[in-house]
Symmetry: C2
Subunit: 260 residues, 2 copies
């Protein structure tokens, strides 16, 4: 079975509860990846709402969970023809870990009638290099192939907090809508370009899903707009292999102390 | 008393409930303004968390409320030193109208250490014109002074879904943090530039607050990135009178049928 589908499987226990098994391999330095957690919670929400897709996911990170058993508690707040809304919360060891509101419905098919955000110029995945972090174990790298355009990597960067690259699953599993939640959070923290190294915990991330991705590589761009005190924002855009904009997100996160 | 402070007042009834009176004057064509509703709910959340400010507001719009009595039901999901998270839901006539997750804390003071989004070139408020809508009553205009830069107005536009302008309260009340939630949703729908006229209901809006605004006019810029089927996104940025970026948002909304 696909590593991705296994790690994100949700098992309906009753109307309000899904049992999940958080895979310790989908982590960075022991912390399950935030995008991975959003994908798990979103799969439970979509199932509870009986909707084909998530359209808008608002995730507030409360406490990091660990690998192992957990549950997603869901409450369908509204059922509608065009859109339904679900509150879905990840619980582990009697503590809420991640709280979300998720609006679900059917993603539009076909080409957008207006689009002002074309895929940026990127080197091919073959010309890019694997995501690397100094001093951190990236368990996730066994499952997700992340390639960074060297023109936006830390060593080549010009001090602009911008990182572009590609993402695919190592075992060849096609990306699905929930994989976009992984893609919007897959870049290393862009503020490393400003001297803020190390872990940059996400406090809140909101993501709009704009279309089901075609099979193949996802392209991503992440950039920070403002750092103020310990707080920074990071915006991500994701395009599928056909060049269509399929996800947009913005997160609020905390910088580590500057190392320079 | 200030019209704004009166319209957004929240009255704590018990640990989980705030009584509010939705002012029918803070509306467009009979529907209370979405930004106004977010400001009301956010004031209840900040009080419940015993935090100075909202930092990240995720709002999912379920059903439009009407002017009159309503209540905000709050649940403090997590209390933390740096950030707390509250779920706050606007109820009226036994129906949930607006559901939110709000992370609260203390906004940074002083100048950002990095900022890549300066206030755009705008004509002065005196050179701009009042927000106008064809065929819609804007009750809100009695309370909020909205000026649109004529270079981005519908009559002068070049077909780009971008609108810039200024916002202040008519009675001279200083803007506060919650007023930023009004400002990110104060522009007429930018997709009117693409031929989609009429009401464009917001389904989800997420906003990051980045600083407490200085007194004076707020500048805003709203723009749509992609229209796909009936769905479009709209991004807003807000700067205070000193030129500091104080709010960033993105919403998912529905277009009306094109009129052209």
């Amino acid at each position: 079975m696909s590593s991705y589908l296994k790690a994100t499987a949700v098992d309906r226990a009753d109307d309000g509860t899904y049992v999940v098994e958080l895979d310790p391999g989908w982590a960075i330095a022991g912390n399950p990846h935030g995008g991975y957690l959003m994908a798990v919670v979103s799969k439970a929400a979509v199932d509870a709402a009986d909707s084909p897709h998530a359209l808008a996911v608002s995730a507030h990170f409360l406490r990091p969970p660990h690998g192992g058993p957990a549950e997603v508690r869901v409450e369908v707040v509204k059922r509608g023809r065009t859109a339904s809304t679900v509150r879905a919360t990840l619980w582990q060891d009697d503590k809420a870990r991640l709280d979300t509101l998720i609006t679900t419905g059917r993603l539009p098919q076909g080409a957008p009638s207006y689009s002002a955000r074309p895929m940026p110029d990127l080197l091919s995945p073959e010309e890019c290099r694997a995501r690397q972090e100094t001093g951190a174990t990236i368990e996730l790298a066994d499952h997700v192939d992340v390639r960074i355009d060297p023109r936006t990597s830390l060593s080549n960067g010009d001090g602009t907090p911008l990182i572009r690259g590609w993402m695919a699953f190592r075992d060849g599993t096609d990306v699905d809508v929930e994989a976009l939640l992984l893609a919007v959070d897959i870049a290393p923290p862009t503020v490393a370009h400003l001297g803020y190294r190390g872990w940059a915990p996400t406090v809140e991330l909101s993501c709009l899903l704009r279309g089901a991705p075609a099979p193949g590589w996802l392209a991503f761009e992440a950039k920070a707009t403002q750092v103020n005190g310990a707080w920074f924002d990071e915006e991500s855009s994701v395009w599928d292999a056909t060049g269509r904009l399929v996800a947009q997100s913005r997160q609020l996160a905390l910088v580590s102390a500057p190392s320079r």
